[in-house]
Homo-oligomer: 471 residues x 3
């Protein structure tokens, strides 16, 4: 074992001794707080069935787009990483070979959050004490594979060991929530709640939109051919999600565009959408109107509304056609909030019952648009640094550019937004450490007293996500 | 007194001992320099009449949009904060109740510049030694109210105590400058100068534009129905402002768009504007042309020209209709300078007699547009970090992103831009500390020698604003 | 000698002792590595003829747009700095007077990279031990002039002393590469290679485009009136450049727009371009198509492709008409990569044989567009912080905003991009120090182990540029 793996107790803290000591003390207050995970993409079936996770590659590599986007950028084919092809074509099936390929290229991740998350998972979840290298690859593979076969590594046991208090998953309104029902009926004390993500039935450009909406009509018994019936069907499913614990919706739009159209126009757009003859401009109108409709429903049923705009999805048509969606080819775009959100805000921005949590992939909007908007409108709060910015530098920039205008209390704590279940503690730990480091700098520069910072640290690590998501 | 209020001598300095010691030494050179306040919104009547300030809430809360925007964002109504309604409707009238509400929510401001400014004002201006809490709210209220009744807290006495050398206010060309004349005639040694802000008569979309221009004609005796008469009227009022000490104009446009149109088009636009039948596009043309006209006048009369673009004013129609302008609902927008300023620069950019000071609400333009423009054109200088960015992180980013291309000498020192008179020393102190900290880092990293940094610190704190504003 | 000039051994390192010690150790590993300069604008004739450099002003001031843009911005005329006028009009001819003017205004450069580069050149290249001041100006002038007359300061000797391993110049496809041929035939061991920059024959708006393309036809014997002949002519010249050592092309477009047009449209655009009757929109189409064509050729001949978009060239028409191109009046613009590069990427983005190195003048694209694109597409890599951002703060921001998504291995090491030959060691030294400082922070915050950081430091300083440019 030539290359010991260590997880330094002071990682991510400033190296300046004054700041580091404060950061340590703040972190001491939050490190053991339960994890609130109000937005993510884990599979509820894991917890419903509580079966063993498969091999190390299937758990840690094949589903993780952070991992294979980097490897792909360096000329490694997705086939060789075992990513399934949409046409069922041949891909690598030997998980050990995939693991070795990953280990050979592990140095590419230096300086990325993936590097920290994996090392945390190796060290803390699996008890590994040597670094991943081409030489150690097989030993580590065998060690993880052995762990996964043991009861301590079953999903529910890990959930409890991770000290998770609540874990949100994300589902289409068409989802029967079978696993959530099974979980509810199981008597297990873990709290896994669904999140209502209506993109498949609210975005006319979503693959299969027409069939999706027809199915929505079938499930709910509503006449989805009329605007009121369509909205009622969506509201029915929201109620169903609520009944299984959902407290939030999620909306993954291309832009933050919203509209507040007259009823006749809405009817016309629905007609076009359902006929399959809708132009891109009309589809944009439809989506914009739907955000406003969803805000209206949130006022009625109390579901918190999350808006995640700004990704150019499936930018690489060759990867998309061979491997489908979510394969690391989504690219952030410049995003406008000042004009795009105005129609919705004109109608509902002053509503205290409404809580909209905004995310961005355009860091330039933090200080220019998002903090000023959230620092004024009662209905708006800011989600944490997201996706490409779920990282030490990304989180630090977020606090530096948002806090002076929006404060801490227009933000909502951390989201891990992950399907990589074993990494959830690592991700929350990074967020807690970075927030404590930011607060430590404020204290060290006498911009905040340490007792105030301690309260804020606990709010950021635990209380704000619980209250913002009404959990 | 359970929560002592302290104002640490090292606040805002880096905690690294090497940098902190340099910052201390640099700050020692500038801390006692007189305050030059070349851009702000204090009321000249305070100094002309020298009457007592009213109660603590009327002085510190009700007029401060930084304060009530944050409180409003958390669901606190503007009525309950005593902000007057445009329809004269009922709002809270008891200043002590307003103060208590503020105190209960004071924690919301943690990490914001308002937090530092208020604590500085409490400690240094009013001699308070305990933190504002719900429990201490009444004691602090009574203490400030008592201060305000004493002669040491009269406006002129505070002006002198604050060591202000010159204080600029901001007025419409229609303003008779009664208070400035009274001040001139009073024999008081304080120097309060007006600034010429022509938006009400130069922006066809300004409320009351037509009547404003008609009044301008009446005041000056010029025929404002012709382009030359209109310009002459504006020039006359500039001369009047100059005669009472003005050295600068200020222009608060939506964008930085400028134009250099043929005379016939100008005449036509004026006709449309005065008829009240001007399209938004034509109004934009009109404003763009007016910046170029104002630059021409500045070459002739020597007034420094300030351009403050990029705010979406009154973004919240509900707040606007109930409370009017400047109620915390202005939101920054993406701003372009490269194309928008070109018509003006093509004509006057190489003019050494002209001095245009540019501001921005779009921090992305610092390194991309503003520093390269100001680092080339003789007519351009850069105003300090403004409004939402008048803050430690905002100022630090400003220096980090501007200095390497524009240097220090294409910037113009600090502006407090405030109507909150008691906070003026606090705001200048923050700027001096942040600039000294930035310089200390350059020295500690051996990018500048300390004797050079000392000269620069004095220039940034005092000399540059005096020379840039021709004071 | 009242003001000693020093070059601190720890310059640009963090002042925090923990980080500084790590930075020192990392820098120790890279400080003496040979210089790879894969992109620049030195004159190959210097090395081919190996004659003495002229006087200090002709070497250091008159050709350096970083220098005279700053001086010009403060009202100093280009004539007084000896910058030649296009009309041959009178400009200052006395190099000593130019030097004195520079010395009087040297303080303007405080905080800029020019300040560090010049002090490094003074100290290290010319052995000067006093600061440049108005008082020392003549002494320093005489000292440098004396150096330049000595054989140790001949171009080839300096090249060797600077420990340069390879130096790329930049040429038009029309360039006969006389000096490169002379160098090849000279037996001198220095490696000076050309770079193929086709803007003069690939941009219909380039001055003299029609004549340039006609000359291209003449040189190659191809029928440039047809699309295939035109492309063949360009390919022929690429082969010629390769034969003299070129490994890369360079493309200085206004935007990053690319297109993949049908053949008929290409023919039509060429016809319009050669007739001189091409609209701005069509010229943009032409340039966009040419990037895709060049990518195709790069796949065939293996030349690495550099794209440098985003400068508004010659923003100041008055300076342009009197002094011509490249006179400090180029201003960065907002740049889009997500949509603009898509046509090219759709066709070639997954090509492992292709290597496109992207640069930007819009720092907001680092984390939002460039890192996500380069962190996915096999054909893309990211060039270093460029031009206005070739500076300590610029490089630091680059690493902070790019590394977490793209890692280190989708970047390509440093480019000096300079015509200021004596400053080449200074510029590479700054890059090495800033990269080591960034890595030191990662190590100090336990985000990377020091042995890993050491490998990365060597890669960034030497190996990556060598491999990325196929040198």
């Amino acid at each position: 074992m030539n290359h010991p793996l260590r997880l330094n107790e002071d990682r991510l803290f400033p190296s300046d001794p004054v700041q580091r000591d404060i950061a340590r003390r703040l972190y001491y207050e939050v490190r053991a707080l339960p994890i609130i995970s109000p937005h993510g993409h884990t599979d509820p079936q894991w917890f419903a069935d509580n079966g063993s996770f498969p091999d190390p590659s299937a758990l840690l590599i094949i589903p993780d787009h952070y991992v294979y986007r980097m490897l792909y950028s360096q000329g490694i084919s997705l086939e060789s990483l075992g990513v399934p092809r949409t046409d069922g074509g041949a891909v690598e099936k030997d998980p050990r070979k995939i693991w070795r390929l990953f280990a050979q290229n592990w140095y590419l991740f230096r300086g990325t959050p993936t590097y920290m998350w994996f090392n945390h998972v190796f060290y803390d979840v699996f008890g590994i004490r040597e670094k991943l290298t081409p030489e150690s690859a097989d030993r580590i593979y065998d060690h993880i594979a052995d762990c996964l076969s043991r009861p301590e590594f079953l999903p529910r046991t890990l959930y409890e060991r991770f000290n998770i208090e609540v874990l949100s998953t994300t589902e289409s309104p068409l989802d029967p929530l079978t696993h959530h029902r099974k979980l509810r009926d199981s008597g297990w004390k873990g709290r896994i709640v669904p999140t209502y993500r209506p993109d498949p039935v609210a975005d006319p450009e979503f693959p299969g939109f027409v069939q999706n909406v027809q199915q929505l009509g079938k499930i709910t018994g509503q006449d989805i051919g009329t605007w009121s019936g369509y909205l009622q069907a969506l509201a029915d499913r929201r109620r169903f999600f609520s009944s299984l614990g959902a407290t939030a919706t999620d909306h993954g739009h291309i832009s933050a565009a919203t509209l507040d159209l007259p009823r006749a126009r809405c009817e016309a757009l629905l007609g076009k959408a359902l006929s399959g003859n809708i132009t891109p401009g009309e589809a944009q109108e439809f989506r914009g109107q739907m955000l406003t409709e969803m805000a209206q429903m949130s006022i009625e049923d109390g579901l918190v509304m999350q808006i995640h705009p700004g990704a150019y999805r499936d930018h690489n048509p060759s990867v998309f056609s061979r491997f489908g969606r979510d394969k690391g080819a989504d690219i952030p775009m410049r995003t406008d909030y000042v004009h795009d959100l105005k129609p919705l805000l004109d109608r509902f921005g002053n509503e205290k019952r409404l809580s909209i949590i905004l995310f961005t992939l355009d860091e330039t909007t933090y200080s220019r648009e998002l903090a000023p908007l959230a620092g004024h409108y009662p209905a708006l709060k800011l989600g944490p640094a997201w996706w490409f910015y779920d990282s030490p530098e990304g989180m630090r920039l977020y606090r530096e550019r948002i806090t002076e205008t929006a404060g801490f209390y227009n933000t909502v704590g951390f989201n891990d937004d992950t399907r990589a279940f074993p990494s959830i503690p690592a991700r929350h730990d990074v967020a807690r450490r970075v927030d404590c480091s930011f607060l430590a700098r404020l204290v060290a520069e006498h911009r905040l007293d340490e007792d105030e910072a301690r309260e804020v640290a606990i709010d950021l690590a635990y209380k704000l996500s619980k209250s913002a998501y009404r959990l």
